[in-house]
Subunit: 213 residues, 2 copies
C-alpha cells in the first residue's frame, strides 16, 4: 500500500515566518497558446521539503550531490502527539527500533494544523540533548509533520547537529498518523537542482503487503 506523505503546493500554504509564499501563475492558456502551463515561483524550502547540509553549513554537501539511495530506505514513525518537547528520555524507549531503520519520522499532530496560523506556533521539537543522541545513529534522515527541527528563531542548533552528520531533515510531512507502529519503506525524492540547499519533495510510504501463504 502506498501512502502519500506530501502536502499539496498551492498559494496560502504555511511558510516559515518572513519567507515568501509560493506563487503559481498561468504562463500559457488554451485561449491564447492552445495549451495550459503554470509558472512556479518558490523557495527551495517550501511545502514538504528536505534540508541539505549546505542549507546551514558553509561548504557542506548540497542535495544534488547525494546518491539517489540516500532518499530511499526503511522507516518508522514515533508518536509524539501531546508532548511539549521530544526528549532523550522519551526517545530512548525506541533505541532498538531506531537502530534498525534508515529514517525516523516524528508525528506531533501538527499536520492537522497545516495552512492555519496555529501551524507556526508551539510545535514540539527535539531537545538539543535528544538531537545529539539521535544524530549518533546511522540514519539517512529524520522527518517531522511540523515546520522545523528547531523552534523558530535565529538559533538552529538541531539543524546543525543533524546536517553535520549528513542526516537529511524532512519538514512539513503529512499522513504520519497512518504509519504509527508500522515499518515501511520511505521514498522522499527532491528535485535535482544544481547546488541546492534543499528542495520540495514528493514523499511516500510503501507498506509491504503480508507474504503470500
Amino acid at each position: 500500500m502506498i501512502i502519500d506523505l506530501t502536502h499539496t503546493l498551492k498559494t496560502g500554504i504555511s511558510v516559515y515566518p518572513d519567507s515568501p509564499e509560493p506563487v503559481f501563475t498561468e504562463s500559457a492558456t488554451f485561449e491564447q497558446q492552445g495549451w495550459s502551463e503554470i509558472h512556479i515561483s518558490m523557495c527551495t524550502h517550501v511545502g514538504t521539503h528536505i534540508d541539505a547540509p549546505s542549507h546551514m553549513i558553509p561548504g557542506a554537501k548540497s542535495l544534488d550531490k547525494f546518491e539517489l539511495d540516500k532518499f530511499i530506505g526503511s522507516a518508522m514513525v514515533i508518536n509524539c502527539s501531546g508532548l511539549p518537547e521530544i526528549t532523550k528520555n522519551f526517545l530512548s524507549e525506541y533505541e532498538k527500533q531506531i537502530t534498525s531503520v534508515d529514517f525516523v519520522l516524528f508525528y506531533t499532530g501538527w499536520q492537522h494544523k497545516w495552512s492555519t496560523p496555529e501551524y507556526l506556533s508551539f510545535f514540539p521539537t527535539l531537545t538539543c540533548e535528544a538531537a545529539q543522541w539521535l544524530a549518533v545513529f546511522n540514519l539517512k534522515g529524520i522527518g517531522f509533520d511540523n515546520l522545523s527541527v528547531d523552534a523558530i528563531g535565529n538559533e538552529q542548533p538541531n539543524h546543525i547537529t543533524f546536517l553535520e552528520e549528513e542526516i537529511l531533515i524532512i519538514e512539513n510531512l503529512t499522513n504520519l498518523d497512518m504509519l504509527i507502529g508500522k515499518k515501511f519503506e520511505l521514498t522522499c525524492l527532491p528535485l535535482k537542482i544544481e547546488n541546492s540547499d534543499g528542495s520540495p519533495v514528493r514523499a511516500f510510504a510503501n507498506i509491504p503487503l503480508p507474504l503470500m501463504r
Copy 2:
C-alpha cells in the same frame, strides 16, 4: 541498483522553443541571513518532466489528481537510436513485451545532446500511426530521452492521443542507454502542485524489479 534518469536543473539547460529558461537565484546567504536558500523560477514543463492530460485537453485530469501508484511501475526501454522516426512497424516487434509493462521508454540518443543547440532539432518522434497503436495498450506512461512526443510546432497530435487515454508523457529523460534490454521498476515522482498540467520530476530506475510492491 538504482539509476537516476533525471537531468540536473540549472540555468542554460535545453528548454522548449520560446519557453522561459529556469532561473535560480540566492534568496538567503550565509553572510546576510546566516543560512543558504535558493529561489526557483520555472515552468512546469522544464527539465525532466511529466505532461498531464490537462496540459493539452481542457478540463482533463491534472497531475495532482492521480494516485501515487500512477508514477511507479514496471518499465522497458526500446532502442530507437539511428531511426528518423518511430513507426508502428518497428514497434510491433516489441508487442509482447509492451503488454507486460506499465511504462515504455524510448532511447533515441538525444540525451547526449542535452543543453546543446542540437537537442532541439531533428529528434525522432512516434508517427501518428505508431502513437495510436501504442495508446491502446494499458500503459501508465511513455517516456523519451528527447524534447517531445511531437515534432516542434503548433500541432501536437501524439500528445492528444496519449493524454486522452490518461497515458502520462515523460520528456527529457536521461541514462536510458543503461536500461536497454532490461526490465526494471520506474519511479517518476512529480511535485504535488494544485491543478498542475505538468511538473519537473525526479525519476529513477530500480534494477531488478523489486519482488514486492
